[in-house]
Amino acid sequence: MNNLVILPIILPIIGGMLMVILREYLWFHRLLTLAVTLAIGAVSILLMEQIKIDGIQTLQLGGWAAPFGISLVADMFAILLVLVTAIVTFCCVLYAFSSIGIERERHYFYPLCLFLIAGVNGSFLTGDIFNLFVCFEVMLVASYVLISLGGEKIQLNESIKYVLINMISSFLFLVAIASLYAITGTINLAHLSVRIAEVGQGGLITTVAFLFLIVFSLKAGLFLYYWLPGSYSAPPAAISAIFAALLTKVGIYAIIRTFSLIFYHQPEVTHLFIGVLAAATMVLGAIGAVAYWDIKKIITYTVVVGVGFILAGFASFTMAGMTGALYYLIHDMIVKALLFLSAGATIHLSGTSKIREMSGFIRLHPRLGWMFFIAALSLSGIPPLSGFLGKVFITEGTFQADYFWLGAIGLFTSLMVLYAVMKIFMNVFWGYTNYTAETLKGTAKGLLLPIGILTGLTIALGLGAEGIHEYVDLAVTGLMEQNMYIEAVLGENRR
């Protein structure tokens, strides 16, 4: 029992509610949002140390023992993601201060952000599958409002699709939970794992597993990503950066959690299928990224490629592949936020998102230009930066699992992504400029600080990979050895 585990969920909720009450004081909103994200970061660092020493931390809400009550579980995998979530939200909110506009701030932008990360953290920390659904919904309802906040025509059109798709996938999620409950009679993740290990994963349970895979794929953008490019390019940069960094990652987390803890008995069926979907996602996403000449569209398609790549590592289901998937997941959250924020800055400066109409920004804003360059290199996995290590491990994992085709597709699509982001760099930043300081639509004042923080992080993650290796290793061991999780949650109630 450790009461710290609930703090990442209730801190943002309490903060958000305070802001709704005190709606007039925008400086209070800004300060409180930063304070809450910092507090979540501090709590997760504290929890990481505790997990390293004492093992997985749990909290049985209300004191009801595990299979009967609601449990929150903080293992290393979840808490690492909570930490990165806090960092990314901090930077995106910092960026929003000077870019989101007073109207959106007034209409509860900051409380909605906090409710969103309450849902995200809840999904990471929850220990039963129904609460996973509930936290998904908390997160999604906040994102429905964020995506339509401002009420422009394009936003409304895209948000209708987004809401409809997610409502349908939520229904499927409930159907899957109902079927799983009918078969096993429990909804606690650890208990489900024990029961399925006892009776074996028959055809029926594998079918339910595929139903879960469909649901999570819709949320993660694994193959069923067709709603993603439209919805992620509709809202302003700060919001789409939060979406790209967090929302799809929750779906990925759910896939990794369920398929490593519960449905891991038939990897030759389920995990191979995930691998095939991942390969298709990478190829189609890379084609999209290469094809468009619109900066927002290109980087939303790189989100799709990233999803495919992480799950390719997971599909190999080897120690190396999982390590790579985890490294790449952390890297992806940071670098996607960085890309969206810096692309948002160029759009803010030029007033257009078509890369053929922009040029030579690096002469007016050299720091922005070089930071975008670093982001682009990091995204495609050039050695000293953070994407490289994940790429190496994922490729190694797919080769160990004899999925040579998967590793090859991963490497090939990395090249296509490199081409796509270099296309942006060459067109937007390089060459002669047709702008002067007067013809720019705005200033980059206040936008560079969060971009700089994220750039620093992606360099630090690449150079200091040794420093977090210990934690990633613990997380992967926790995922591969289901007994650690089960033991921590159920304790002596295990039957």
Binding site: F130, V134, E137, L140, V141, Y144, V145, S148, G151, K153, I154, L156, N157, S159, I160, V163, L164, M167, I168, S170, F171, L174, V175, I177, A178, S179, Y181, A182, I187, D294
Partner: protein
Amino acid sequence: METYMSIMIGVLFAIGTYLILTKRLLRIALGTSIIGHGVNLLLLTAGGLKKGAPPLLGLKEQSFTDPLPQALILTAIVINFATTALFIVLCYRAYKVSGTDDIEQLRGHGNE
């Protein structure tokens, strides 16, 4: 009893799917609502429709109803209600802004 419920759920899903595949936004919203009801019934049926005493301490009966599906449905109904309300408001706003509730005409926004 479970068989009849299954048929009922199937009918609700069929109607909901049909409505979602139509062009009008309001029909789509109603379709999602109907599927939501089907899903709630499915949750109830999945736990088994057994008759028994309420699951309270201190009762002498031998068989008790499973309380978990009802707890799950309660949550699911609240969430379904909230998202449906939000979706209908969104449809109304889109109708106001674009002047149509035909999903075909809501597509495309200049740069496609």
